[in-house]
């Protein structure tokens, strides 16, 4: 590995110094937003009418992997949807 130029390393170090203390805060905020998005996508399946259901249907397969974590975070121990048997 060639040593990186001094300014590059200094700049990276400063960036870490800037970002790290708040990494968790941002990740939380992002997760909250993703959770809301998840609710929108699965709204129709959960019995909430969603005018954009036609479009969100397409996104469902993309979100399956995260579904299990999501319903547990939302306080439901088991999958609320019959057709998703994640647990």
């Amino acid at each position: 590995m060639t040593p990186r130029p001094f300014f590059q390393r200094l700049s990276d170090g400063l960036k870490e110094f800037y970002v790290a203390p708040y990494r968790r805060t941002f990740a939380r905020a992002r997760r909250d937003e993703d959770d809301l998005f998840m609710l929108l996508v699965f709204a129709e399946s959960l019995g909430v009418p969603n005018p954009a259901a036609w479009y969100t249907l397409e996104l469902m397969p993309e979100l399956y992997e995260r579904f299990h974590d999501w319903h547990q975070r939302m306080g439901m121990e088991h999958s609320p949807l019959d057709h998703i048997g994640c647990c």
């Binding site: 400063l14 960036k15 800037y18 790290a20 203390p21 708040y22 968790r24 990740a27």
Partner: protein
């Protein structure tokens, strides 16, 4: 005596503590294992759990724990003379703070990076969680109340700091926008930010701003307190990238610059200590040195707040378990160095003993103002800065620290109120939570008497709550050690000492507040006393359970 000698003795003692005592603790008591897989690796998620280079991690840990408190405490405590303050800071750092911070880091890293709050819930039982919430609420309340008083005192006594202090907020806002919206690399905004901050300090020195004696029917100090809380409430509600993040960052840089300047000034100026070694000529009404010294200097000798940072965030980023010694123990040494600098400023920064006595006219007088004045003189003599410029630099440094602590503290307090609301089955929204937090803190700041030394009357109470939190953490470490059948003396002795001094101090202060007919502080004192007895009781109950052979397996075995 020369302050250089004091500085060298202090630094040497703390280095020896790091080299030998922490090595002994690391090998024989905490038994760090270089092959242990830390939570940063086993639970790695790129968010909370990130293995981090130990020097970078130390930088974060140190800047998160260092604030205005390690300056204010020693600045008040030198009224008893420099020897007691010096001894407590140095010995406290070596035998108390180092072990405490290092231990919190170790205990958390051995328990999946759980925080002190979670650990107390697990080791003490369900009451542990509520106890922790109560203690943390009290600490935050005291921090916000005391710091508001500190800042308003400084803004009045050092009017040259008004422009740079409020200007720094604008600097932070601009940096936040540059980084977040325009994705600028950090190097130039940092350099530019620090330069602008120092230009603002020059500007402030040229144009001091003094408020009239009464503003809107309030005294100048009260008005600043009101303004500060309004600011802190808004800052704590804004998205963190807008203000808090760039502010923390600039303050971190400021800390290293300021600490460097002070030590250089002492080295070049070699001032003599003018304050007495033991002050035999104490002002009337000064409280007795035992136990008050041990709660007046909390941060700098031992502080529970460090345990929160160590177990809350630092432990999750520990690359190797053996790094805990450097990050935890040396983090405490860094804070001790800050306090040492504060002691030197407040005892060597005056021309004669008489000058010093004129500043320290009563307990709680002098304090951080003495640090600013004394430090200003040191910077003038050592580095040739104009004295008022040096004083402005230090006042800005102290205020910015206290300010960031306040807005972060208010934010945390809102979370605590929301969590307590949830426990009680109520939903408290963000604005209401913030208003409640501001309300109670402001009531304390005003109720404590925003005038003169009254504002600082709550300082020892803040120290006491901070020591209680440290006691809770030490109790957890001790319980863990006892469960594993290891020698617990090295944490048990500091624990007993801390709790005894805290309770003793609370009783002494109870008498003072009663005589002064300050019912608000008397009430606070009683609440804190109950919390202190509660911590003591829970610690005894948990320790009596004794050795637990199962614990040796669970906590020492690498996680699957």
């Amino acid at each position: 005596m020369s302050s250089i000698l004091l500085m060298i003795v202090g630094l040497a003692a703390m280095s020896l503590g790091y080299l030998f005592y922490s090595k002994f603790i690391a090998e024989k008591i905490y038994r760090l294992d270089p092959n242990y897989k830390t939570p940063a690796h086993t639970l790695r998620d790129g968010v909370d759990y990130v293995p981090t280079n130990k020097f970078v991690l130390w930088g974060h840990h140190f800047t998160s724990v260092a604030g205005a408190a390690p300056i204010v405490g020693p600045a008040i405590a030198v009224i008893w003379g420099w020897v007691p303050a010096f001894m407590w800071v140095v010995l406290g750092t070596i035998f108390f703070a180092g072990i405490h911070d290092f231990g919190a880091l170790w205990a958390s890293a051995r328990n999946r990076g759980q925080s002190v709050g979670m650990l107390s819930g697990r080791l003490i039982g369900s009451r542990g969680r509520s106890l922790f919430l109560v203690v943390i609420f009290l600490v935050l309340l005291m921090v916000n109340g005391a710091f508001a008083a500190v800042i308003s005192n400084l803004l009045v006594s050092t009017p040259t700091s008004v422009i740079p202090v409020w200007g720094a907020i604008i600097v932070a806002l601009v940096i936040g926008q540059l980084i977040y919206r325009y994705n600028v690399k950090l190097l130039w905004p940092s350099v530019g930010g620090v330069i602008v901050l120092y230009l603002l300090i020059l500007l402030g020195s040229a144009y001091p701003i003094t408020l009239p004696d009464t503003v809107l029917g309030l005294s100048a100090k009260s008005f600043w307190i009101l303004l500060l809380f309004a600011y802190a409430a808004i800052a704590s509600l804004l998205p963190v990238w807008v203000l808090l993040q760039p502010r923390d960052y600039i303050n971190g840089l400021q800390l290293f610059v300021g600490l460097g300047l002070l030590y250089l000034a002492v080295l070049f100026g070699a001032p003599e200590l003018v304050a007495p070694a033991y002050n035999t000529d104490l002002p009337a009404d000064s409280p007795s040195i035992v136990p008050l010294l041990f709660v007046t200097i909390a941060c700098g000798a031992i502080s529970g707040f460090h345990g929160l940072v160590a177990s809350g965030t630092t432990s999750k980023q520990l690359d190797k378990e053996t790094d805990a010694r450097f990050v935890g123990y040396f983090g405490a040494v860094g804070e001790g160095m800050l306090s040492l600098a504060a002691i030197i400023c407040c005892t060597a920064g005056f021309a004669t003993l008489l000058d010093w006595q004129q500043v320290y006219t009563a307990f709680g007088q002098g304090g951080v103002n003495a640090f600013v004045q004394g430090g200003g003189t040191l910077l003038a003599n050592g580095l040739g800065l104009p004295a008022d410029l040096g004083a402005t630099i230090l006042a800005v440094m102290a205020i910015l620290f206290a300010g960031t602590t306040m807005d972060t503290g208010l934010r945390l307090q809102r979370f605590v109120i929301q969590e307590a609301g949830e426990l009680a089955g109520m939903k408290v929204n963000t604005v209401v939570g913030t208003l409640i937090a501001v309300g109670v803190c402001m009531a304390l700041a005003f109720g404590a008497g925003s005038e003169g030394s009254g504002g600082m009357a709550i300082w020892p109470l803040f120290g006491t709550t901070n020591q209680l939190l440290a006691g809770l953490t030490l109790a957890i470490i001790t319980v863990l050690l006892i469960k594993q059948g290891r020698p617990a003396m090295y944490t048990l002795v500091p624990l007993v000492f801390l709790l005894a001094m805290s309770i003793y101090a609370l009783l002494v202060q109870m008498g003072q507040f009663y005589r002064a007919e300050n019912w608000l502080l008397l009430g606070m004192d009683v609440v804190i006393l109950i919390a202190a007895l509660w911590v003591t009781l829970e610690a005894i109950i948990a320790m009596r359970k004794g050795r637990d052979p199962a614990a040796e397996m669970t906590t020492d075995e690498p996680l699957p």
